[in-house]
Amino acid sequence: MAPQNQGTELDLTWISEVQVNQPAVLRRAEQIQTRRTMKKDWQAAWLLKAVTFIDLTTLSGDDTSSNVQRLCYKAKYPIREDLLKALDMQDIGITTAAVCVYPARVCDAVKALKDVGCKIPVASVATGFPAGQTHLKTRLEEIRLAVEDGAKEIDVVINRSLVLTGQWEVLYDEIRQFRKACGNAHLKTILATGELGSLTNVYKASMIAMMAGSDFIKTSTGKEAVNATFPVAIVMVRAIRDFFWKTGKKIGFKPAGGIRTAKDSLAWLSLIKEELGDEWLKPELFRIGASTLLSDIERQDKIHKRAIAQGQRNQSRKD
């Protein structure tokens, strides 16, 4: 894992004059989805890469140890062995980036991953997920307990009311305390962008979260009406870029919620490549929060076809 972001002093001048040009963001978002197409081997390779960015997630009221166990197994073996073999990718060790569960399921997940011999981290949501409308004291306690249980990454939600009322100092202090409570665990801050009111607020909240020491900024809980969208993502990655230019620190980005199809995942990768560059295309700096995306990727015809084509090629070489 990348070293932690220790944050910076709060500097409100970084956000005070920011204005987001929404029509331009929308046009860029529209363009980014159609601009690049990946075909053949490229598509297969990109899809497999997308798998390695997934925070395989289950956040349901009916989660039990058994389905968490299944999830962890899937995280270790996300793609069928025979397909990987056919593509000559069996030795790469493709796993998802992490599994993400509720705090009460962290123990189950840690154990299950240990059982299958998988070293990927367990991420836990915390701080009154998904609304964040609980007392600060209990929110902090939630983080500590999840870390005690073995979570290596904590996905915290911010208190949206602080953004909507413009209490940036308070927001900064809260996240700062989250950071402290995390200890050695990584802090991923969920902005719940669907409830922030405007793209300008999304930018400001992103900046505050990074200044306060988040290792990742994350779009949504998956529980809001509007989740990860490309316009919001563009604003957030531009904030990441600005923060990098100001401080030299690379902060990760995690879109979550509503990313269900393999085609979507390719567009997300393409967005990161175009806006932040190849350096960000690694699990330390880019994650996709998803529960059903993986099965769609595995279902992709293209992977199968390429696997078959590659198989034939290998066959003919042997002959």
């Binding site: 040009n21 029509p23 053949k40 890469k49 793209l199 190849d278 295309l281 034939q312």
Partner: protein, 735 residues
């Protein structure tokens, strides 16, 4: 980078297409999926050009002239080879047309025009829609062919040009459908010749062809594929100069430069004022930047890379006076210059000879609108760049030329006031442009004035609000209808014209900022003042022009009516807010031309003068006028009221030798627009002169107009000519 990538994609296109899905030929040491997994490169995503190539195949190696619905392939003609600009591969040959080919095409177009223009608007609309549908159905052929021939990325054409072409045909079909009502005062010009530079693409042709077809024109378009049709030059000079389309110039590049059209990416951030031609993209083979040493140049990618296209380039620190700044900047070169205040930025932008488009970026709406109104450009985008829509007119001013396409303005380019005979299309006469009106013949006193004291007109040149002595210090006799000298008027010359233009420029700036209501009251006050003088004016007209007193009185009454009518129209000049779908709304503004020079016709000395003056003033222009040569007296008489009612310099009247004064005005670099009503030869001279300084002109080609008739003397054509359109895109959305 995009350009280079696209070129690479296009270059590998052909090979990739044949390889096909099986890809059995590959054999690499490491699995290719594995290497891509680690490098995360974009693979080639070529669009197979097979559709386009198959179509070219059906045409044989030679593309003919498309005349009368058939491909004509005349024998024994020279050809020009069209190549794929990114790979240099042969695509097809185009014939070099000869005079007889053009004559044949013109003939066919003339015949077709008879039928086509007689069709009802609704029928024409159906035809246009059918054409639009054909584009929709065969779009793949179109975009692959266009991409192949221009080297542009398929995406730009597929997602931009093709839908736009469809939209254009549909939009103008709407006009055709309602033509009988919406365009009742207009008729089609006839056969339109559209000459496009070799760099112009399919969509550029569609911008111009669609409206022409809609209003019942039959057209000839020069094929954008290759540099054919060399012999069209004589025809082009008979076109109004507003049609002059200048192709982009070579700028920073040292040697040859063939520009290609390419739309700028929508998210581009050009500085305000960079009227970069909508994406003229220059391929460069051995061109290198040779800027002054103080200039910083940033380029994407390695300049030595073998790409047929110029890389995206950023130039910093170029002084506004540098020749590079003054010239047109091709896409994708962006020049960034710092400015201290918004006022300075405005001065820098308006200081360039270009008037195409600009974008203004500011979150302060007061500042953004102020700048957008202030820049002299055809299109201004606020907080956006490069938006296009069939409904939004695109054009410009200054060196960009004043022709329009898109929106209603694109339509009027092909229309002519109903009832007026179209200008005869004739090859220009041989004339010595260098001698036309070079100097005024000397005038000698030829007898005493015989006008009665009550009819004595004021003496002098009307400059800057008062009558001044002519710089020539001589006078010209005006003969009465009986042949005796009626009066003498001052003889104006080049120096008076210069003073007049200067005075007009000063007055124009103030007049624009006047509230429209103020203009109304001034025009109406002039009408009242004129009616006070009606007796004297009518007498002068009878004495000099030899018309009956009733006719003379009618002329005066009509003149008064004109002033009132144009006063009333000040508030209704066709400006308005339009919607362009999800791209946001835009304003179609009508802005004054600035200083307008008007050479009045010989006939109707008072009525024509007032009919031309009133729309010019109503639209906010300042004028320099040359009155009728035979009878300038009523105009000068009228100036006495102008002196007392209007700010000085707004109206300047210079009597004298018309040819000489026309020459002075037509060649004046600081007169943005000129209307000429006189001889055919004079019109030809004005057209020739305007090709040098690109002023907006309106000439009558030696044809007379019935100034007493409503459509010709006070019709919508005057309205159209007296102001210039500006399209101001407003960016919208923050919720």
């Amino acid at each position: 980078m995009a350009a280079a990538a696209a070129a690479a994609a296009a270059a590998t296109g052909a090979g990739e297409a044949v390889t096909g899905e099986a890809a059995t030929g590959q054999s690499m040491g490491k699995s290719s999926v594995q290497s891509i997994f680690f490098s995360l490169d974009y693979g080639p995503a070529p669009e197979s050009p097979s559709t386009a190539l198959a179509w070219l195949e059906t045409q044989g190696p030679n593309l003919g002239h498309f005349v009368n619905g058939k491909w004509l392939k005349p024998d024994g003609q020279g050809t020009i080879t069209c190549r794929d600009p990114s790979s240099g591969e042969f695509l097809a040959n185009c014939f070099q047309a000869k005079n007889e080919d053009v004559a044949l095409a013109v003939d066919v177009a003339k015949r077709t025009f008879e039928e086509w223009s007689q069709l009802s608007g609704a029928t024409r609309a159906q035809h246009l829609i059918r054409l639009a549908d054909a584009i929709h159905k065969h779009q793949k052929l179109l975009w692959t062919l266009e991409s192949l021939a221009s080297g542009r990325v398929v995406r730009e054409i597929r997602d931009g040009d093709i839908p736009l072409a469809h939209q254009l045909l549909q939009y103008y079909a709407c006009w055709a459908q309602t033509q009988e009502q919406a365009l009742s005062g207009w008729q089609p010009i006839g056969v339109a010749v559209i000459v496009l530079p070799p760099t112009f693409s399919f969509i550029e042709m569609m911008w111009r062809v669609s409206p022409a077809l809609a209003v019942g024109e039959s057209g000839l378009a020069r094929e954008p594929l290759g540099p054919g049709w060399g012999c069209l030059t004589p025809t082009t000079t008979t076109l109004p100069a507003s049609w002059v389309i200048r192709s982009p110039h070579p700028t920073l590049l040292s040697s040859h430069w063939v520009s290609l059209m390419g739309s700028p990416p929508r998210s581009s951030r050009a500085l305000p004022g960079w009227g970069a031609p909508q994406g003229a993209r220059g391929p460069c083979r051995d061109g290198e930047l040779q800027p002054p040493s103080s200039v910083q140049v940033f380029q994407v990618g390695n300049a030595s890379q073998k790409s047929p296209f110029f890389p995206p380039t950023l130039v910093l620190g170029l002084a506004p006076a540098s020749p590079c700044t003054q010239r047109e900047v091709p896409w994708p070169v962006v020049v960034i210059s710092p400015f201290r205040t918004a006022k300075e930025a405005l001065a820098m932008i308006n200081g360039t000879p270009r008037g195409g488009n600009a974008s203004v970026w500011s979150e302060r709406i007061t500042l953004a609108l102020d700048l957008a109104y202030g820049v002299r450009m055809g299109t201004v985008w606020i907080n956006s760049h490069g938006l296009k829509d069939a409904v939004a007119p695109v054009g410009g001013c200054k060196e960009t030329g004043s022709s329009w396409h898109g929106g209603p303005d694109g339509l009027y380019e092909y229309l002519w006031p109903a009832g007026l005979l179209p200008r005869p299309v004739a090859l220009p006469e041989a004339m010595d442009y260098n001698k036309f009106g070079l100097s005024a013949p000397p005038v000698l006193p030829s007898g005493p004035d015989t006008s009665p004291p009550s009819q004595t007109a004021p003496y002098g040149i009307f400059l800057a609000g008062r009558f001044q002595n002519p710089s020539s210090r001589s006078s010209r006799p005006i003969l009465g209808s009986s042949g005796t000298v009626y009066a003498h008027v001052a003889e104006g010359g080049a120096k008076d014209i210069r003073t007049a233009v200067e005075a007009a420029h000063q007055a124009a700036a103030l007049w624009v900022s006047q509230a429209p209501g103020k203009r109304v009251s001034m025009l109406w006050a002039l009408a009242d003042a004129l009616s006070q003088r009606s007796q004297v004016l009518a007498e002068q007209l009878t004495e000099v022009m030899g018309v009956g007193i009733t006719e003379a009185q009618t002329e005066v009454m009509l003149s008064i009516a004109r002033l009132r009518a144009w006063g009333a129209r000040v508030h209704a000049q066709g400006a308005g807010l339009h919607s362009a779908g999800h791209q946001g709304p835009f304003l179609r503004l009508r802005e004054p031309l600035g200083v307008l020079a008007i050479i009045c016709p010989e006939e109707w000395p008072l009525l024509a003068f007032v009919s031309l003056l009133s729309p010019a003033l109503a639209h906010g222009n300042a004028v320099v006028m040359v009155p009728s040569g035979a009878c300038p007296l009523p105009a000068l008489q009228f100036c006495q009221d102008v002196a007392s009612l209007l700010p000085p310099g707004l109206v300047n009247v210079v009597p004298g030798d018309r040819d000489h004064l026309t020459r002075c005005l037509a060649l004046h670099q600081d007169v943005p627009a000129l209307w000429y009503f006189g001889s055919a030869q004079g019109s030809q001279f004005v057209e020739w002169a305007s090709a040098g300084n690109l002023k907006a002109i309106w000439v009558n080609g030696g044809q007379s107009r019935s100034w007493d008739q409503e459509p010709e003397g006070a019709g919508p054509e005057l309205c159209l000519r007296a102001a210039r359109t500006k399209t101001l895109w407003l960016s919208l959305g923050d919720i």
